[in-house]
């Protein structure tokens, strides 16, 4: 009786786990399948298979420039995000000061505020700043990067802070007693120790920025598109498998980024 019950429980557990996984993967599988359909209007069953939609991407200027812009913005936002997040995490993890807990929550806020709300408020903020200073901010690449930096910061702060709490302060003191000043100590001891958190934070920040649509919609200037915007614009006119092909490339890019990252830090251990 007992053994039967346990067996049943295990079967149920695995069943639910596999169903959930299938549920999550289903859209990816369908999108990938669709990208290889030969006919223009997606319908089942496929009339044949073709690679032509992948070729169509290269011929579409919007996709190409959108991809380049998204890549530039994501890379820049990730780097700036790290420059802010690493020092911020060092202070947050080590100094208790009035409001440090509040500040910690504050830095994670972009994770929970809806993208449209963030987009609107940054849009208004940039307009006001532009009026006040006369600088061309709204619609510029810099303005877009600034917005995306906010998307990156929660990830980098969270993951770097987590890896800092596992670091023995005594190791840093040992380095100093051995003759390393603060800078050398940071680069030779602290940074290598928190590298997994830094790399993982950068990866998740990059992916979040690269796939962001809502905020970018508010911040791009006329004539400038990011990849998600290019996809949206394309879908307003056509629904042929080109969009599916773009998505497949995007999935591949992210998968490759994760696999490379995983070689340096075991993501399962950090996240």
């Amino acid at each position: 009786m007992m053994a039967d019950g346990r067996l049943l429980g295990r079967v149920a557990l695995y069943g639910v786990a596999w169903l959930t996984l299938a549920f999550i993967l289903m859209p990816l599988v369908f999108v990938t399948w669709l990208a290889f359909f030969a006919q223009e209007i997606p319908s089942f069953p496929p009339e044949g298979y073709s690679l032509k939609w992948f070729g169509a991407i290269a011929g579409n200027r919007n996709f190409v420039t959108g991809f380049t812009t998204s890549l530039q913005v994501a890379v820049a936002a990730t780097l700036i995000g790290l420059l802010i997040a690493v020092p911020a995490s060092l202070i947050l993890a080590r100094r208790q000061f009035a409001g440090s807990a509040v500040l910690n929550q504050f830095l994670l806020l972009p994770l929970v505020v809806p993208g449209v709300v963030m987009g609107t408020s940054i849009y208004v903020f940039q307009i006001e700043t532009e009026i006040a200073t006369g600088l061309p901010i709204l619609g510029s690449l810099g303005g877009l990067v600034a917005g995306h930096t906010l998307l990156v910061i929660p990830w980098t702060v969270r993951l770097v802070t987590a890896s800092l709490t596992g670091l023995d302060r005594a190791a840093e003191e040992a380095a100093q007693s051995l003759g390393a000043n603060q800078w050398t100590t940071f680069f030779r001891v602290t940074l290598p120790a928190i590298r997994p958190g830094v790399v993982a934070g950068a990866l998740f920040g990059f992916v979040t920025s690269f796939g962001n649509l809502e905020m970018s919609l508010f911040l791009v200037g006329p004539g400038r598109v990011t990849l998600p915007i290019a996809i949206l614009q394309y879908l307003e006119w056509k629904i042929d498998p080109t969009v599916a092909a773009v998505s497949v490339l995007q999935i591949l890019l992210i998968a490759v980024a994760m696999i490379i990252t995983d070689r340096y830090v075991k993501l399962a251990r950090v996240v």
């Binding site: 023995d168 190791a171 040992a174 100093q176 007693s177 003759g179 390393a180 120790a193």
Partner: protein, 353 residues
């Protein structure tokens, strides 16, 4: 190598004075141990010497050089932590070579000196391993090698053995002591373990509540404790409270008349007795102090026995006797004679409380 001098070193956190005007002289090549209960300010003192805690007052010198305001990386102090604090992402060789690298020593010399340091701590052949591939004792020896290889002016050890298991602790204890003597290192070690302190030190500093209670050798502390705290903390004592009534005469609260050293001043006082200075049975009769009591407890320590004897309603003593199979072992409830010479009474005037 050099001497280390602390002059009225003080540390305050808010209103809390955790190190109170500590002055010490550590001689060239001496092994000094700071001993005291947990929270008495030992670590804070050591961290001030290392440069991680800025003193609120006082000064420090290594040799003739004032180091009071120098940052840690300019002090040339070798530091060994309770947690080992090895660099997890570096091999043993890289860990040990780190300090030499910082001193811009050239590659070939680093290789040689690292190998030499690892040989000293008996870890030849472990250079390519990572800290996580070593046992606790081995990690501790790497930490020691890393601190030694820079030829520090002073070696600072903060409870270096407390993370090791008991057997290993004895081994590493002797090893550290032997190395320290071989290299003539000026060393300050912090511990709350009196046995560790007594076996390793040239001289000891007993601290409590941030203040130095007594500085001296093992026998200074044991035979001539400066106050009741030291008598209680170093070794064991049983206390009898009462008052010195005349030179050499003491009357306990329980009514015993005892003779003690004539030097003690009259007034309320406490006598501390080392358990091994007391005698049981017929032999007690001939001693300056003797009394009859009842055995309340016998604790078996292997080679020794602790016999707890109640002398009256308030006074009670512990007597340590050798455990001989041929001798008579007192049993709980026995009525027994206890005696001790006047010289066994360590008399401490009681502070007006």
């Amino acid at each position: 190598m050099a001497s280390l001098t602390l002059d009225a070193l003080t540390k305050r956190y808010g209103d809390n004075v955790v190190v109170k005007s500590v002055s010490l002289d550590v001689r060239d090549g001496e092994f000094l141990v700071l001993l005291g209960p947990s929270g008495c300010g030992k670590t804070t003192t050591l961290r001030m010497i290392a440069g991680f805690v800025p003193p609120s007052g006082g000064s420090m010198r290594i040799g003739d050089k004032d180091i009071t305001t120098l940052p840690p990386w300019k002090r040339n102090a070798g530091l060994v932590f309770q947690s080992y604090a090895l660099f997890p992402h570096m091999t043993v060789n890289e860990n040990v070579g780190f300090g030499l690298d910082m001193r811009k020593v050239d590659r070939a010399e680093i290789t040689g000196r690292v190998a030499e340091a690892l040989r000293l701590v008996r870890l030849e052949g472990y250079g390519e391993r990572y800290p996580r591939q070593l046992s606790g004792g081995q990690q501790q020896r790497v930490a020691l090698a890393r601190a030694l290889v820079i030829r520090p002016d002073v070696l600072l050890l903060d409870e270096p053995l407390s993370n090791l298991d008991a057997k290993l602790r004895l081994e590493v204890r002797l090893e550290i002591r032997a190395l320290q003597q071989q290299l003539g290192l000026t060393t300050v070690m912090v511990t709350h373990d009196q046995e560790e302190a007594l076996t390793m030190a040239d001289r000891l500093v007993v601290m409590s509540d941030g203040a130095v209670r007594q500085v001296g050798t093992q026998s200074d502390l044991y035979e001539r404790p400066a106050d009741l705290f030291v008598a209680d903390f170093v070794g064991r004592s049983t206390m009898i409270s009462g008052a010195v009534t005349a030179p050499g005469a003491f009357r306990s609260d329980g009514g015993l008349s005892l003779s003690c050293q004539p030097s003690a001043a009259a007034g309320p006082a406490t006598i501390a007795l080392r358990p091994e200075r007391l005698t049981l049975g017929a032999a007690a009769q001939g001693l300056a102090n003797h009394a009859t009591g009842k055995v309340t407890f016998v604790s078996y320590l292997g080679a020794l026995l602790d016999v707890h004897v109640r002398l009256n309603d308030t006074d009670h003593v512990v007597v340590q006797i050798p455990n001989r199979s041929d001798g008579h072992v007192p049993a709980v409830g026995d009525t027994i004679e206890v005696g001790w010479p006047a010289s066994a009474c360590l008399v401490f005037p009681r502070e007006a409380a």
